[in-house]
Amino acid sequence: MEAEDAAPCRHAGAPPQTVVDSVIHLIRNLGSDEANLRRYGLSSEEYTAALPNAIETIRGSMSASSGTRRSFLESLFWAMLDGGALSAVQAPKYGDDTVYRLTVPDLGDVAVIQKGCPDGRHSSVAWAAPDWAQETYLWWVCNSTRSEPGEHIKGGVNRLRQRFFSDAPDILDGVIFHSSLCGTAGRRCPKTANGIIVDGVAVPPPCVYIMPERNAHASEWNWGGTRSRRFPSVLLAAFGVPFANVPAYTGYVGFQRRSGVLRTTITARYGYGKSTTFRS
């Protein structure tokens, strides 16, 4: 199975690479289109000099800002609070690391670390599990359609694997891939039947993957996906998934050392009879 099989969905409507290449070609060649530049009061030299800064600015304004990501998660957590799944939500203050402290009845505090797309270095490596957290999750709020969702997840898990086998003291209980794009025409979700309305928008259940537990003497870490955590059932219950069905909606990440080679397995589960796996 390919990396894209790490998630049950695919992107639709992303422009093919040939179109992207044509746009790059167009932008590059605009510098020599003096008649067009004149209309904007620009010289060819000014265009060339300002282009890198302009691209940087466009990039910043087009990608989902931390604020956008935050509002998506906050809305969801407030909905869970209203529904009684959570007894308290402590949202991060501006300037803090984006870590939500969710208080779950009978479980305690759960940390959700909000990040962007998983394959970015900042999104999968730069985090710390709070010491107050009973369970800690990295939530990738990723609206990028540059790669298929499964490819994004694989990229993130690869980075997390380095950290898993490093000396860093803290590890994750799970990762979650879910954003406002999920369930839309751009990223059709096979779990929409379990969707809920949050702020007037239909939101499908998130893709949750349980991460392995460290064990210095093992050669396999959650390879068979047997590790269970408590927060996924709380989260999925908010989407109407009964407790007994939670295993059929909870994916997992596993590692294995075999003949000196480190392998990864990433399985997504999305209902009875429905699972998909990427395995290296």
Partner: protein, 438 residues
């Protein structure tokens, strides 16, 4: 001898007479006299052969879809059978290319028809010309045909078809399923002698035997499906059935049964044959079952399979097909459940939910691929385990040979003793390193 339609035979007889003795040589015709009369007849007048081997699998599907076992046999020359056959021919792969070619270059080779105008050879061309004519391409109105004698027997006609259409130059017209069905028919007709079938098909005995063996596997899966799958559904999966048939030949019954179960699940779920290849091993079914059972999404599916299998215990088709009288294993139960349902159907789960067969097959494919990957890793581990010993063994064998050839080499002028000693020293250093390694 086939019964001729007297009116059509008379029409054609007159047509032949009017063609001023034009004939063409047909080397594939089994009689001494190989010149056959050539005529041009209206493309709507000729009748398609409903016994055409190239469409057997498609006919099988059409009959099941129409719920009419006699669709092509009750009145094979009537409009219903002929229209159905025309539709099948029009839907065959490459039909549009053939039409385009006929439109550009007209008919190059004559068709061959019986004495009452049934196409023995050239069914696709006639269909393509008829289709062109229906689209107002008037040059396609007449089809050039060679006419068989009125006393041509059924055997002679089948032989001619085998000669003309299965000889390698015509092979591209056949899907492997239809070709294998023809081999199967010839095998029965030729006293179950692969030698004779091979001679008739201009193929090696091994080729025809392998074709025969693999179509038997497809028959089994189709029979197991109880009508939900058709032979034609597997025409893209030749390699799967080829490798299965080769592997299970002469294997113990349990391995035969287990590997077949895994391969059938692979065939239904569109698993690549290159992936399935890693599961040609005695524990194939265990490996796949382990993957399926460790997937919590499959739990209710296995329960549904078990419930169905318990229900059908009285008429256990799977046992019959797989040739065993043991109880169905959970994996066989799953195969039975999935094979008997069309991909677009739903499976009703014990808790009242529904899941589509297509979705479950995708998940089964994941399990089969995972099992194959693990089997491949195990093979690699095994290879890694034995590699050092095997390489040392090879080195020992080479050193024995060096010892034998050394006296002769030393006797030849130009022998460099110093260089040889240098090599021995390198060897000794390597052996010391091997001995010291832990």
């Amino acid at each position: 001898m086939p019964m001729l339609d007297p009116d059509r035979a008379e029409y054609l007889r007159n047509r032949v007479q009017a063609s001023h003795g034009r004939t063409e040589y047909v080397s594939a015709w089994s009689r001494m006299e190989k010149e056959l009369p050539a005529v041009e007849v209206d493309v709507n007048w000729v009748r398609f052969s409903t016994l055409n081997h190239r469409t057997r699998a498609e006919q099988d599907k059409a009959m099941k879809q129409a719920g009419r076992d006699d669709l092509f046999t009750s009145d094979p020359l009537g409009p219903e059978a002929q229209d159905a056959q025309f539709e099948i021919l029009c839907r065959q792969e490459g039909f549009e290319d053939l039409k385009a070619d006929l439109k550009d270059r007209d008919q190059q080779d004559p068709a061959i028809i019986t004495a009452d105008g049934i196409l023995v050879n050239g069914n696709r061309r006639a269909a393509a010309m008829r289709s062109l004519y229906l689209e107002q391409h008037l040059r396609a109105q007449y089809i050039r045909c060679l006419v068989l004698p009125e006393d041509a027997s059924v055997d002679e006609i089948v032989d001619l078809e085998a000669e003309l259409q299965v000889a390698r130059t015509f092979k591209q017209d056949y899907s492997w399923v239809n070709e294998a069905l023809l081999i199967e028919e010839l095998y029965d007709r030729e006293g179950k002698s692969f030698d004779r079938v091979a001679r008739r098909m201009h193929r090696s005995v091994r080729d025809v035997r392998e074709m025969y063996d693999k179509i038997q596997q497809v028959h089994q899966l189709v029979a197991m499906s109880q009508g939900s799958r058709h032979l034609v559904d597997f025409k893209e999966r030749e390699s799967v059935f080829d490798e299965l048939a080769k592997h299970i030949r002469n294997k113990p019954p349990k391995e035969e049964r287990d590997v077949r179960t895994v391969y059938f699940l692979g065939a239904l779920s569109d698993t690549e044959y290159r992936t399935l290849r890693h599961l040609r091993r005695p524990d194939a079914a265990e490996l796949v079952l382990h993957e399926v059972e460790s997937d919590p999404t499959m739990r209710p599916i296995l329960e549904a399979a078990k419930a169905e299998s318990d229900k059908d215990e009285e008429e256990d088709l799977l046992d019959e097909v797989l040739g065993g009288d043991e109880h169905q294993s959970p994996l066989e139960g799953l195969l039975s459940l999935l094979a008997t349902k069309k991909p677009e159907a739903n499976i009703l789960l014990p808790e009242g939910e529904k899941v589509s067969v297509k979705a479950v097959l995708d998940t089964v494919k994941t399990a089969v691929v995972n099992a194959a990957q693990e089997a491949e890793e195990t093979d690699k581990d095994q290879g890694a385990l034995t590699a050092p010993g095997e390489r040392v063994e090879k080195a020992i064998s080479e050193l024995h040979r060096a010892n034998t050839s050394l006296p002769r080499a030393r006797a030849i002028p130009g022998w460099d003793e110093a260089e040889f000693r240098g090599r021995i020293a390198r060897l000794e250093r390597l052996v010391a390193k091997l001995k010291a390694s832990r």
